[in-house]
Amino acid sequence: MKPILELKGITKRFPGVLANDNIDLSLNKGEIHALLGENGAGKSTLMNILYGLYEPDGGEIYVNGEKISVSSPRDAIARGIGMVHQHFMLVPVFTVTENVMLGDETTRAGGFLDRKSPAARIRDISNEYSLQVEPDSYVRDLPVGVQQRVEIIKLLYREADILILDEPTAVLTPQEVDELFTIMRSLVASGKSIIFITHKLREVLTFADRITVIRGGKVVGTTTPKDADQNDLAAMMVGREVLLEVDKKPAKVKGKVLEINNLIVLDDLNNVAVNEVSFEVKSGEILGIAGVQGNGQTELVKTITGLSHPVSGTMVLCGEDISKATPRTITELGSAHIPEDRQQDGLVLSATIADNLVLNTYYLDPFAKNVLIQDDKVLENAEMIIDHFDVRTPSPLIPVGSLSGGNQQKVIVGREFSRPIKFLVAAQPTRGLDVGSIEYIHNRLLEKRDDGCAILLVSTELDEIMELSDRIAVMFEGKIIAVVDAEGATKEQIGLLMAGVVNA
């Protein structure tokens, strides 16, 4: 049976990098095909070429055996190719109907917009494919999972037969991920074909019919879930054996570094977010705070790093009371912070990598003598960190915003780890990163812990918590409802605690 879509020899060059190198890809009708690769491997570029956002430098595209040229998304849509991007292209203040018909508006006599027929069509599509959505609701009121359905409906409205989903599960909760895959199954059952781009190994093995792995712009191989397991795929993605389980030495725990007592913190709406929390972190251990997003972890981290102040309770770091301290004081005491939102809080995207690497040390010796910045020392520091932490960039002087997510995180990690630190708060340190980067960050964290640093790890990824922590605290509705030793703790046990079930 002929493939419904074939990419042959696709090549694309950007200045300084060969993003796609002679790539062949085929998609059979009715299959779910996963495109797997690290950040920067070239998967999004390939799909953008297919969707008409880029022109390839070489290669051909065949749909149903017929060679086509795609020079804009309009061409792609006309050929039945549709794409749902990782960051949705929806207008929050429009209704679902308005969003779906945007660009393809139906009009009544006189040029007035006709909203009724699109709404009716949306209802039909909705029922046919079990994509429950109310056409008159405003997009800004919809949860992320439903917004994604609207994006899919946009494609079906335009009669796409080939659907491309770019990192569809990055923004979904575990439950929404399951719902999405049910939808995908029903779509292929009705004759659609799907390519989804991802770097999540487990999903690929559970939901894909075939898997193509891309590395460094080239196709490494095509396989199926039957023929490959997580380790095989990871090795293909990264080009070497990847340790999916890190090698954790036993902890050498010493004295108290951070002590929190009866901390109460309010959130932006003045509700109690952290409700009389007490714990301590010792030198040489990792305390993992597990919990579903939204149980007070964000506010807790904000307070510990000095961005907000507690309403009551005390915080003592290295013997000093930091309950009312500024971020700078806390940093100067030897604390470091990997923020949850790396682009908003951890970096200045328009500034150079070199400047970002001295973001909290630029006023100190040797980067500044009195008030004059020593540019040569800043550059030296940048080159050293880029080398040591393997940040992939052509130069230290380009804006950090042009780096991939994984490399941006390495910049932050490099910056925080290059000072002598006694305490580290790592909040969602591997969010949005690929397998290779995750392995890297985890190893660095364990290294610091073995060096005697006290680490507070806050993560919603239970696997990460279980892998790295020495002790695990579970946060639920603002309280720490349990603290257990990692040794002997099970996923089920922690999972239940995360759901608030104590003494199961």
Binding site: G16, P327, V348, L349, P394
Partner: protein, 416 residues
């Protein structure tokens, strides 16, 4: 080749490629093309609004085109003569050898520099504000207050040698403007009160206050109009040539300050803090920077620079203070700072451009009969092209930059 050397070469090769790409994408190219396009459109506008052109079209198509081109040409010629000088006149004057004739011939050029000087100060003031993410619309008012404090120091401090009086009077101007910038800065930093609203309102307060002072305490006791007394000789800024050339020390002082602002922004720790707060206040906070202090400091410095613009006019040009002595320098400066991409070097170049245009416009009005407003329209075109770079990019087929390296965003308007 060793691994390191190979790496260096690769880096250089990549850097070279990137540079060429960047030139196509760069904002400098964009700026030059925007100015050119503005000039072309301005010429078209002149042609379209000249009666003779329509009459010529009645005769024949080519007559019409010729007349239109002539109208545009004579406009720009007048503009050139008015801003730089008439080459014919200059040659004649030098041949003639008479000192005053020579000075008169070179005067347009020097006068353009005189007009550029307050633009430089005001442009620096706005640019500094932009760098910290603030929209300082109050430069005009800060300029007025600075002029008032300067003229006070320049009139009432008697018996001081010039070496002392000049810096003291300039300082007075800086302090006056700085104070006027401090208030909206404090309000923004402590209450979040938007600086656009507050600076605009402070402008009106400044204008009326100025008027009050000029009708009262600062009025020349021997005059009848709201004008101050002449300032002391020792407070006047040195003029390099005799009348009619007014070219004075202020130009070089403004260049000095441009350099100081450059040093501050790009070479000091304060500047690093300032730029970071402007680029990403959240990240700046996380990095330990004090947003409140930085905001206030930036507004004080910005106001101070604006005050120096006022001081410059008092001490260098008019030697007194009168009502409405500023022809909207503060507002033009906003356009200017944008054109210069909020970089001191860009501001100086843009200020000189605006100064030449403004000075030339007067001559243009006299000799070619073109209304002076054409200049404003010209400036507006140039700005529109700068503000909507997509237009220039499409016309000239330039490439888009990935991330604006030197992008200056305004946090007050949701730029992050």
């Amino acid at each position: 080749m060793s691994k390191n050397e190979k790496k260096q070469d690769q880096k250089k090769g990549k850097a070279g490629k990137i540079f060429l790409e960047e030139l196509s994408k760069s904002s400098f190219t964009l700026t030059i093309l925007s100015i050119l396009s503005g000039l072309i459109l301005g010429g078209l506008l002149v042609a379209v609004t000249t009666e003779e052109v329509y009459q010529a079209f009645n005769a024949s198509f080519w007559e019409g085109i010729k007349t239109g081109a002539q109208a545009a040409w004579s406009t720009y010629e007048a503009l050139f003569y008015g801003s730089v000088g008439n080459p014919g006149k200059i040659v004649d004057a030098i041949k003639g050898g008479e000192a005053e004739e020579i000075r008169r011939a070179f005067n347009p050029f020097f006068d353009s520099l005189v007009v550029s000087t307050p633009y430089i100060f005001a442009g620096l003031a706005v640019a500094l504000g932009f760098r910290v993410g603030l929209f300082n619309i109050g430069v005009e008012g800060q300029l007025y207050i600075g002029a008032a404090t300067t003229v006070t120091a320049a009139i009432f401090l008697k018996g001081l040698p010039a070496m002392v009086h000049v810096p003291v009077s300039l300082l007075a101007g800086f302090i006056g403007g700085g104070l006027w910038g401090f208030i909206p800065g404090l309000l923004k930093a402590t209450t979040g009160g938007h600086e656009v609203i507050n600076t605009i309102m402070m402008n009106y307060i400044a204008f009326r206050l100025s008027e009050f002072l000029l009708r009262g305490p600062l009025k020349d006791p021997e005059g009848f109009t709201p004008v101050s007394a002449q300032i002391e000789e020792s407070a006047k800024l040195f003029r390099f040539f005799e009348s009619p050339i007014r070219f004075h020390l202020g130009f070089f002082i403004s260049l000095l300050f441009a350099y100081l602002v450059y040093l501050l922004l790009f070479k000091t720790t304060w500047g690093f803090t300032l730029r970071t707060v402007g680029a990403n206040p959240k990240g700046a906070k996380y990095a330990g920077m004090n947003i409140t202090k930085t905001t206030i400091l930036a507004m004080v410095l910005s106001g101070g620079l604006a005050g120096l613009a006022g001081a410059n006019e008092v001490m260098g040009v008019n030697h007194n203070l009168a009502l409405a002595f500023s022809s909207g320098y503060g507002f033009d400066a906003i356009a200017l700072a944008l054109l210069g991409n909020s970089h001191p070097a860009g501001v100086v170049l843009s200020a000189i451009l605006f100064g030449f245009l403004r000075n030339g416009a007067i001559q243009m009005q006299l000799s070619a009969g073109i209304p002076i407003d054409i200049i404003s329209i010209l400036q507006a075109f140039i700005l529109a092209f700068i503000a909507a770079p997509a237009i220039i990019r499409t016309i000239f087929r330039l490439k888009e930059p990935d991330i604006d390296i030197d992008a200056v965003t305004l946090s007050g308007w949701g730029g992050n």
